[in-house]
């Protein structure tokens, strides 16, 4: 069974590495991850599916996050920050 690689990078600030998880997995994972994220937390998702920088923030906003940011991490890789 596949698992997510993740680290804590600060207080209530976490990074989950979804590189290697093709679409639609990042989009489907957002709901579960946001549910488990502590209140007023920040979640950075690392994704390499080119649809994810569009899809993931859309789903996160629908689920009531405070804000999202997308930044290019490397060619074909993005960091999507979600604040709750």
């Amino acid at each position: 069974m596949r698992t997510f690689k993740a680290v804590k990078v600060g207080t209530n600030h976490f990074e989950v590495d979804l590189r290697g998880w093709v679409c639609p997995f990042p989009k489907y994972a957002v709901a579960g991850l946001m549910e488990k994220l502590p209140a007023r937390g920040r979640l950075d998702l690392l994704v390499d599916c080119p649809s994810a920088p569009e899809d993931v923030p859309k789903v996160a906003r629908e689920l009531g996050c405070v804000g999202t940011e997308v930044e290019v991490l490397a060619p074909g890789e993005w960091r999507v920050a979600i604040r709750t």
Binding site: M1, R2, T3, F4, A6, V7, K8, V9, F14, E15, D17, G20, W21, V22, C23, P24, F25, Y28, A29, A31, G32, L33, K36, L37, P38, G41, D44, L46, D48, C49, P50, S51, E54, E62, L63, E71, V72, L73, A74, P75, G76, E77, R79
Partner: protein, 401 residues
């Protein structure tokens, strides 16, 4: 104007909006309809799996297994001289050029379990394409706008199939999520940003190489190959930049009650239908992309729908994703080629012949081109209303999550 300022203008007016920003889905949908009508007026409509089954049939032939290619219209001939195959090669080249120009190319590796899933998905698509026939884009998108009765009927199989495939993907995500907790995570350094790349230069070299290949074909008198290679590239760019994904369009209607992409695809089919009907009514290729109709349309559609969801793309989708560096897509292509290419070892008839298949029905020839067009537009409107009805439950769906 100096060369430097011209380069800056080209970069700002052309390169940035076309290759550096994602296109809205509706732009992709409209471009796709127009490109399909233009390509039809040149030679044929978009569809990819029958020629991929011919590639698979070559593998049997090379291994010493004597079996015919499954589609009569796609006999086994040298792949580099096959105009149909040029669409696939062009599509991959166009998507690859587009991904490199946007600096989005990456060799995307996964684990063996994922490759096994892609293998199963590709195999299901291979069977789906010979049973339906043909694939999702050829059998639903192009067939519907070509006024084939089979086009609307494929939805009865593709839609539940994509839903089942989507449920399997959701289950996989839920399993990975079950043991996950933020509370037990160790402290670590965030990923490092490294944005420098030479990908746009590689894109330029690849584009020049493709233009040279098209020129060689044209000079050798194979203008059809040259034209279809370039049309394929145009489709590749449209799909890669707009992320117009047919698999997602079918899957998300039930999975997330979001039919946005499918609604744009319906508009695209509507535009294309008018163009195709005008050409066909004048006697131009009236039976082009008109496929057999029967129970097999729905059964094949279902198999194809499950397959495309778990493989990560339909026939067209795995081609453009393969060019973006998805190893999973290459696995799915190979599996689809092998299963479809050996179809006659199982069925012993060509696709469209024998007890399994019904007869092709053209709505234009049966109802007349005007009423045939009205019937297709009526189907598109009904599908649109159905999606609105499904989407109406979206708020409750989000609340329940």
């Amino acid at each position: 104007m100096t060369a430097a300022s011209l380069a800056r203008r080209v970069r700002a007016d052309l390169y940035q909006p076309v290759f550096r920003r994602a296109w809205p889905v509706w732009v992709g949908a409209v471009a796709l309809a127009l490109a399909n009508v233009f390509m039809f007026s040149y030679a044929r409509v978009l569809g990819v799996f029958p020629q991929m089954s011919m590639w698979g049939n070559w593998l049997y032939h090379l291994a010493g297994v004597k079996v015919d290619a499954p589609f009569l219209a796609y006999p086994r001939i040298p792949v580099l001289l096959d105009g149909h195959s040029m669409i696939c090669f062009g599509l991959m080249l166009g998507a690859g050029i587009s991904a490199l120009a946007a600096e989005e190319f990456k060799l995307r590796r996964e684990n063996w379990g994922s490759y096994l899933t892609a293998l199963g998905g590709g195999a299901l698509m291979g069977f789906g394409t010979v049973i339906m026939p043909p694939c999702n884009v050829g059998g639903f998108f192009s067939a519907t706008m070509s006024l084939s009765l089979s086009g609307p009927l494929t939805v009865l199989g593709l839609l539940p199939g994509a839903w089942v495939g989507g449920l399997l993907l959701k289950r996989q995500t839920a399993q990975a999520m079950a043991e996950f907790s933020f509370e037990t995570l160790d402290l670590g350094a965030p990923a490092v940003t490294r944005t420098r790349s030479r990908q746009p230069y590689v894109a330029l070299v690849l584009a020049l190489a493709m233009a040279a290949a098209a020129a060689v074909y044209a000079r050798a008198g194979l203008t059809r190959c040259a034209g279809l290679l370039l049309f394929g590239a145009l489709f590749g760019i449209i799909f890669q930049r707009s992320r117009l994904c047919f698999t997602s369009a079918f899957r998300e209607i039930f999975i997330s009650r979001n039919g946005t992409t499918m609604k744009w695809i319906l508009l695209s089919i509507g535009i294309g239908t008018v163009g195709m009907a005008l050409l066909k009514a004048k006697g131009y290729q009236p039976m082009s992309a008109v496929f057999p109709v029967g129970v097999h349309t729905v059964v094949g559609g279902f198999l194809f729908g499950v397959g495309m969801s778990i493989a990560g793309g339909c026939g067209v989708g795995i081609l453009w994703r393969a060019a973006e560096g998805y190893v999973r897509a290459w696995v799915a292509i190979l599996a689809g080629m092998v299963t479809a290419g050996g179809w006659m070892l199982i069925y012993h008839h060509h696709v469209g012949e024998g007890w399994l298949y019904g007869r092709p029905v053209s709505l234009g020839q049966t109802l007349g081109w005007f009423w045939g067009t009205v019937a297709v537009l009526g189907f598109l409107a009904a599908f649109y209303v159905f999606i609105l009805w499904i989407e109406a439950g979206r708020h409750a769906h989000l609340q329940s999550r």
